[in-house]
């Protein structure tokens, strides 16, 4: 995404205003850690709009609110297990811990080491290791870049009646999230997706729980089961 972005200022503004959808926003948050220009543009945009926050009249706060915060603060430097418990059962992207990202990096190495695809004749262009909110590996997506992708599930998923797992990717913020297909029986599958640009490094892939037949809006709407960023295979 960094390569084909022509309007960093515009993307930063739309991110800061909250106009990107959840998946695009997550991609921007990942990109800003690698892209100093984007990070600077977001910082500048926040400062530009901050005077609008000063228009908010402070309200009187019950001391109870502080007590709740104080009681939930983890010890600094300790594993933030308490934080994840606080937001359990919540698919807010912001609550995904930094450890999940760290685990992804480790997981990519693991996945490559495992080389479950050693016997394959056609190599995927990118591999994404998908983890859940706790950072546990849930699935691997291989995107072959020719409208074919393979999803290998590495954990048991419970799919309620009337629901299905949908596979998504974000080829570019302009295009938005695109469905690669459905995983009906919670089993590893090969998918015939739509024609998309060649997958790129750090492209976002995710699995969400959607109603049977797939998301009614064509965009991810349900609980995020797992997500991860692609790595180009070498």
């Amino acid at each position: 995404m960094s390569e084909d972005r022509t309007d960093i200022g515009g993307i930063a503004d739309e991110y800061v205003l909250g106009l990107l959808d959840a998946m695009e926003a997550r991609q921007v948050e990942a990109d800003m850690e690698r892209d100093p220009d984007l990070k600077a543009a977001i910082a500048a945009s926040r400062e530009r709009f901050l005077p609008l926050d000063d228009t908010a009249e402070p309200t009187v706060i019950d001391d109870d609110l502080w007590s709740r915060i104080d009681a939930a603060l983890p010890v600094q430097g300790a594993a933030p297990a308490d934080v994840s418990r606080l937001t359990a059962n919540d698919n807010r992207p912001g609550s995904w811990r930094a450890t999940a990202l760290a685990a992804m990096v480790a997981a990519v190495i693991l996945a490559v080491a495992l080389s479950f695809n050693l016997m394959r004749t056609v190599e995927p262009l990118v591999v994404a290791v998908l983890v859940n909110e706790a950072g546990d590996i849930q699935a691997i997506v291989e995107d072959f870049g020719n409208e074919k992708a393979a999803v290998r599930l590495l954990a048991d998923f419970t799919v309620p009646e009337g629901k299905t797992i949908e596979v998504w990717t974000l080829p570019s913020p302009e295009r938005g999230p695109v469905s690669l297909g459905l995983i009906d029986d919670a089993r590893s599958v090969r998918l015939d997706g739509p024609a998309l640009p060649k997958p790129h490094d750090s492209q976002l892939y995710e699995l969400t729980l959607e109603q049977a037949g797939g998301s009614p809006t064509g965009r991810p709407t349900g609980l995020i089961l797992a997500k991860g960023f692609a790595k180009i295979t070498r």
Binding site: G9, G10, D13, E14, V16, L17, G18, L19, D21, A22, A25, P36, K39, A40, I42, A43, A44, R46, E47, R48, F49, L50, P51, L52, D53, D54, T55, A56, E57, P58, T59, V60, I61, L65, W66, R68, I69, D70, A72, L73, P74, V75, Q76, G77, P80, V83, L86, T87, D90, N91, R92, P93, G94, S95, A98, T221, G222
Partner: protein, 183 residues
């Protein structure tokens, strides 16, 4: 308008938080939480949810304080962004549990008033006021609805009765004009 704490104080407080100083976080809470609850409430519409947002945000501020660097902007902007993002995420998720009609009723009541009240309260000596004022009314409203009320493109299009594609391109152009004006 009051400006809350001086940015340097907040930068110092974040550094202290990173070292495990709870009184520093309490200091940020005392200075900013009242306003932050209002900001969250303008987006999530309910006081109880707004407090939940602020509660989770302060835990996040605590656990991520060590990541704050001046290249992320001012400490205040960084703190406020955490609360705004949390509120927006709650809104996006919450919407999934309501029907479209429910959301419309929930959001319609007095939200547009909130947005315009904020515009009228914006510091008239600020550059942002000048530059927003220079935009035509629709673009200004769209930008204010997004930032203050957390409205999506689709909701803005609906409220302003203009097509979605037009809304997106107007807001994009408005933002671009604003950037140009403010640099």
């Amino acid at each position: 308008m009051s400006m809350g704490a001086a940015p340097d104080d907040l930068t110092t407080a974040l550094a202290a938080c990173a070292k495990g100083d709870r009184t520093a976080l309490r200091g940020i809470f005392d200075r900013e939480a009242g306003r932050l609850v209002t900001i969250a409430e303008r987006i999530v519409r309910r006081r109880d949810l707004a407090e939940e947002v602020v509660q989770e945000s302060f835990i996040r501020i605590w656990t991520q304080a060590h990541q704050y660097q001046p290249d992320r902007g001012s400490a205040r902007g960084w703190i406020y962004a955490i609360v705004r993002n949390r509120a927006l995420n709650l809104l996006r998720d919450g919407k999934r549990e309501y029907t479209v009609e429910d959301v419309d009723v929930l959001r319609e009541r007095d939200q547009v008033d909130h947005v315009m009240a904020a515009w009228h309260r914006l510091d008239r000596t600020s550059r942002l006021h000048d530059c927003l004022g220079a935009l035509d009314d629709t673009k200004r409203r769209g930008i204010l609805m997004a930032y203050i009320g957390g409205y999506s493109h689709g909701e803005i299009a609906g409220r302003l009765s203009i097509p979605l594609g037009t809304t997106k391109s107007w807001i994009r152009r408005g933002l671009s004009a604003l950037r140009e004006c403010m640099t």
